[in-house]
């Protein structure tokens, strides 16, 4: 619908401009990453461990490490977050305690990621004596993405029409059966959105894993959850600032792989969400 | 025709129609018996006719109740509304016909105790036509048959013709022999009641046309 009149054109123009400003940096980042890092990315790069002080070889352990961290984080944060959201949405009364909890969650979402890293160091690595490990990293990251998951899940649950709950209860189902069979399945797409957002953050953050999980140089896969891991974000930081003489294409290549990985994870989650939506509407 | 989605209402209408038919056939019987009591001088039969009127009155009230109920509860419109409105008027006509039959029966009772001054020939003929008209009017009601109603007009003319003939004949007799006046007047009255019965049947016919077409017109002048 084309706008008419100068006022309309002005508004249209400004809005169009804002879209350009938003997409331009994203496009630019992609362009730079791809053009400078593309040449470094090949099968050897992706599947072998770093050698010669990371100047040669590949980033396979870091890729695996990131994947393991993401998986572990989701495994902890998703169930916990969903259960908390269910409690807040379905069971608690909307009283003062509820509002207090929401306040806490919102504040938690605003805590800087490095603070999470320090907390993880103190609580998981030192106090619980887990040590710098995959587990500690996952726990810290889980804590960090919990607010996002809880908020998105709670909204998704709230969005389920009350009429479904009423119908289910009127048919003689208990509260929990109603949630499990009707409310939760309907809220799944929304919950997955929260999970997608959470996963992106978990995959890409450096600070939380800095003190809790990441290894400087560990050219093998972790032997257990108590073992340290390499991780892409941290590895990228290392090869761009801590280790000299790394070829530029290797640095950009690593960044490219990290971005691609996050995109891949997001894409699969989005596909999953679409599939669930499709199945529900037949 | 596809099955109606107002089965309950349809059933109620059908039940009401049944009751009207029942009432009509009862009235027809009353007319038949009344004339029979007259010509066969059967006091027993005359008494029976008089008693039958109670049943007819009960049906009148019952059918009116049904109609009121349907008007209150079923919000009838168009054809349904005309049907119910028509039915309420038809039962009034039927009830009056019943009353006339009772009047004839009472006269038959009186006449039975006296010897007749002339054989009763035309009156039963007239009664037969009147009964035929009643039957046809009810048939037209049930089948919504406008053509049948039109045919009844001819019968009404026949009834009128018979009445005039009876009237002239009896007046003749009265002029010749004033002693039979009382009896003669009774017979005249019977003929008059039969003519009225035929009129009511015509009314029913007019109502049936209204029910079917929505147009109310007098059938004969």
């Amino acid at each position: 619908m084309r706008p008419r009149g100068t006022g309309e054109w002005l508004a249209y123009g400004l809005l169009y401009l804002s879209i350009v400003l938003v997409t331009l940096p994203v496009a630019a980042i992609f362009f730079i990453l791809v053009s400078r890092g593309y040449s470094a990315v090949n099968w050897e790069f992706l599947s072998s461990a770093p050698r010669m002080g990371m100047r040669a070889g590949g980033i396979f352990p870091a890729i695996m490490g990131t994947l393991l961290l993401v998986l572990g984080t989701i495994a902890i944060a998703l169930p916990l977050g969903i259960m908390a959201a269910i409690y807040l949405s379905e069971y608690s009364s909307r009283g003062r305690l509820n509002r207090l909890i929401h306040l806490a969650i919102v504040n938690l979402a605003g805590v800087p990621s490095v603070v999470y890293g320090l907390f993880g160091l103190g609580a998981f690595v030192l106090f619980l004596k887990i040590g710098v490990s995959l587990l500690a990293g996952c726990l810290t990251l889980a804590l960090m993405i919990l607010p996002v998951i809880i908020t998105a899940s709670e909204e998704a649950l709230q969005a389920v029409p009350q009429s479904f709950r009423e119908a289910s209860l009127a048919l003689g189902a208990t509260r929990w059966k109603t949630i499990w069979n009707v409310v939760l399945p309907s809220a799944l797409p929304g919950i997955l959105t929260g999970a997608i957002l959470g996963v992106s953050r978990a995959a890409g953050e450096t600070a939380p894993i800095l003190f809790t999980a990441a290894a400087f140089f560990l050219p093998r896969l972790p032997r257990s959850i108590f073992d340290q891991v390499m991780a892409l974000p941290y590895h990228l930081y290392i090869i761009t600032t801590q280790v000299p003489n790394i070829p530029q294409k290797v640095q950009y290549g690593t960044a490219l792989v990290l971005v691609a990985l996050v995109l891949l994870i997001n894409a699969s989650a989005i596909v999953l969400r679409s599939y669930i939506r499709w199945r529900r509407s037949w | 025709m596809t099955e109606s989605i107002r089965k309950t209402f349809d059933e109620q209408l059908s039940d009401m129609q049944q009751e009207i038919v029942c009432m009509g056939s009862m009235v027809e019987q009353m007319v038949h018996h009344a004339i029979k009591a007259l010509s066969e001088r059967d006091i027993e039969l005359a008494e029976r006719v008089i008693r039958m009127d109670d049943a007819v009155d009960d049906l009148d009230i019952s059918i009116e109740g049904r109609c009121m109920r349907m008007l209150a509860l079923q919000q009838p419109v168009a054809r349904d509304l005309r049907t119910i409105g028509t039915s309420m008027k038809i039962i009034t006509d039927l009830e009056r016909m019943g009353d006339h039959a009772v009047d004839i029966a009472k006269l038959a009772r009186t006449l039975a105790e006296q010897p007749l001054f002339k054989p009763i020939v035309d009156i039963p003929k007239m009664a037969a036509v009147a009964q035929k008209m009643l039957r046809e009017s009810l048939q037209a009601f049930v089948n919504r048959d406008i053509d049948l109603v039109q045919k009844m007009v001819a019968d009404d003319d026949a009834v009128d013709a018979l009445y005039r003939r009876i009237y002239d004949e009896i007046v003749d007799y009265m002029e010749k022999d004033p002693g039979i006046i009382r009896q003669a007047i009774i017979l005249l009255r019977v003929a008059r009641f039969l003519e009225r019965i035929a009129d009511h049947a015509t009314n029913i016919g007019e109502r049936v046309i209204f029910m079917e077409t929505g147009v109310l017109e007098e059938l004969n002048i």
Binding site: E166, A167, L171, G172, A173 | K7, T8, R69, L73, Q75
Partner: protein, 252 residues
């Protein structure tokens, strides 16, 4: 012949939303295998009353109730009453059709599955859909989403779903108010059909519907039950002037 006992016996029922009294001293006797309708202007308490019969009002915070509601002779507000069991016995159909976003089959089998039943479901589905006059229209597409049906069909599905829980009593809260006139009449005929097996209690803001369908009608006004009795009587010669005023459309 009114010798049947009351299937629902309400005695001096008072209901409060916080400080507001929504129902005042309601006493009545509902007969089995009959259709009873409740009419009245908006906010008169008729829907609130309906929901006290299957304790759906429990879902609202801050409600208070006193008085007795006996169903099959048991007070449903007694502390030892199993609400889940009550809601199986007393089913409910809502104003807007609310089928679950599942297949038709899964919708109908919801109640028995919640109860733990896993066998004989196919028969149950056929039986209840036949009962709800929907079988012929959906028998070839039971696995299709319930949301693909029309409004009238969805409401009949909700009726089938409620019947699948095997209730003896069916509560209907303005069941036709979001449907077109033809669907409405179909569901009214369905109600007539169902009453041979169930007791039906309906709330409607459409009094012509109450007149067409109900054996008994009750008139609510501002939380009070003004008049209750045989529908024919209520609609031809009501006792109370307020009833007459409402049904003749002089107010409301």
């Amino acid at each position: 012949m009114e010798t049947a006992a009351c299937i629902i016996d309400v005695n001096k029922l008072n209901f409060y939303y916080g400080k507001f009294q929504a129902l005042k001293d309601i006493t009545l006797c509902l007969k089995p295998h009959k259709i009873t309708a409740f009419i009245g202007p908006s906010g008169c308490g008729k829907s609130t009353f309906l929901r006290t019969l299957n304790r759906m009002n429990d879902l609202i915070a801050g409600v208070r109730i006193n008085g007795k509601v006996l169903i099959d002779g048991r007070n449903i507000y007694a502390p030892d009453m199993d609400v889940v069991e009550l809601r199986r016995r007393v089913g409910m159909v809502f104003q807007r059709p609310n089928p679950f976003p599942m297949s038709i089959y899964d919708n109908v089998t919801y109640a028995p599955r919640m109860k733990g039943q896993s066998r004989g479901l196919d028969d149950l589905v056929e039986r209840t859909l036949v009962r709800a006059a929907l079988w012929d229209e959906v028998k070839d597409k039971l696995k299709v989403s319930a949301l693909s049906l029309s409004g009238g069909q969805q409401q009949r599905l909700c009726i089938a779903r409620a019947l699948a829980a095997d209730p003896g009593i069916l509560l209907m809260d303005e069941p036709c108010s979001s449907l077109d006139p033809v669907s409405t009449l179909r569901i009214e005929e369905l109600m007539q059909d169902l009453k041979s097996e169930y007791t039906i209690i309906i709330v409607t803001h459409n009094m012509q519907q109450a007149a067409r369908v109900a054996d008994y009608t009750g008139f609510f006004l501002s939380g009070e039950l003004i008049e209750f009795g045989d529908s024919n009587k209520i609609f031809t010669k009501p006792d109370d002037k307020r009833t007459e005023g409402y049904i003749t459309g002089r107010f409301g």
